[in-house]
Symmetry: none
Subunit: 182 residues, 2 copies
Amino acid sequence: MSETKPTYTIQNVVASASLFVKVPLEKVAKKLTNTEYNPEQFPGLVIRLEQPKISALIFSSGRIVVTGAKSKAMVEEAVEEIKKELKKVEIETTKKPEIEIQNVVASGDIGMKLNLNKLAFQLETSEYEPEQFPGLVYKVPKSHITFLLFGTGRIVCTGAKTKKEVKDEVEKLVKTLKKFVK
Amino acid sequence: MSETKPTYTIQNVVASASLFVKVPLEKVAKKLTNTEYNPEQFPGLVIRLEQPKISALIFSSGRIVVTGAKSKAMVEEAVEEIKKELKKVEIETTKKPEIEIQNVVASGDIGMKLNLNKLAFQLETSEYEPEQFPGLVYKVPKSHITFLLFGTGRIVCTGAKTKKEVKDEVEKLVKTLKKFVK
DNA sequence: TTTATCATATTTATAAAACATTTATAAATA
DNA sequence: TATTTATAAATGTTTTATAAATATGATAAA
């Protein structure tokens, strides 16, 4: 009898790209109010957009990092918007940026309570220190995927490159967990 | 079966010499733009050359230190160039400077992954504090040579006086390491 | 008071971590 | 109610450690 139908939602997509043009960050920071720039703290300039609602890092090399998106389409929209923002301060981009998805984060629910103390022993590649963090950290073997498992049955999947990878890994996780429950 | 052919490249040669003439650093600093002089910070004047690309320290005593060279020939070239620079500001050198190589730094690859945690115990005269610096520091016994060993198999050799010494020490190191791998 | 050592500055390879950004999750603290 | 703890990923700069000579000033131990 299987009562567990895992559900999950993509919560964050991080992507990188190159604008193929050097960016004078000091100048951009002065002219655009939706930016933050503290080079002695971090070399990238932070820009926050309302539509789509994301945050991005722009580096003087022209490389950018988009965070907070929910999908690849949203990342593409964001890059177009960043190009428009830069155009406002006379920075023209000619080449089409090649966008690369670097990380997909999803949260979900596997529909069953988890005994983390027990799981910490059953899952070889896991770490669980409740007084430090309430979730159990499970690094999937031979994979770059990491799960955060909570006693409530809620989970966080991070390190994926695609939506499909999230789906496959969550299904694999549920199968693994069910073995222990039996 | 020996899959490990160590490779290495001389990366830096530091040498000292005397010009056998007092140098008025304040005056030199004012007339030559390729120099830096902050006596309250450091007593030597810094001069940077384009051809050959090196940096040197000149002291009021007439002693100089050449850094950033790749070979002894490059050091000799540098000293000649420094003499020319000083001639521009009416400082004549008569005696031939005796150049002494003080340090030869080389980087290389021994072609095998290293378990630094294990090596830290096996190599008596080594120190390894990964949270401070990722490399293991190995001081070769009864020698002035020090190696930096990295988990990747890349190495740095420093403290040598000659190219030959680098070669011999790297070969010796590889033999030592292979003993532990077996 | 004298003799140490230490920091100042220069170069070079090596590599790991911190810095900042986002997002869900949840327990504890301030 | 906001922060801290932990996770992944990219971006790029700085710090960490090594050896050597040179020469000042500053502490620090004898």
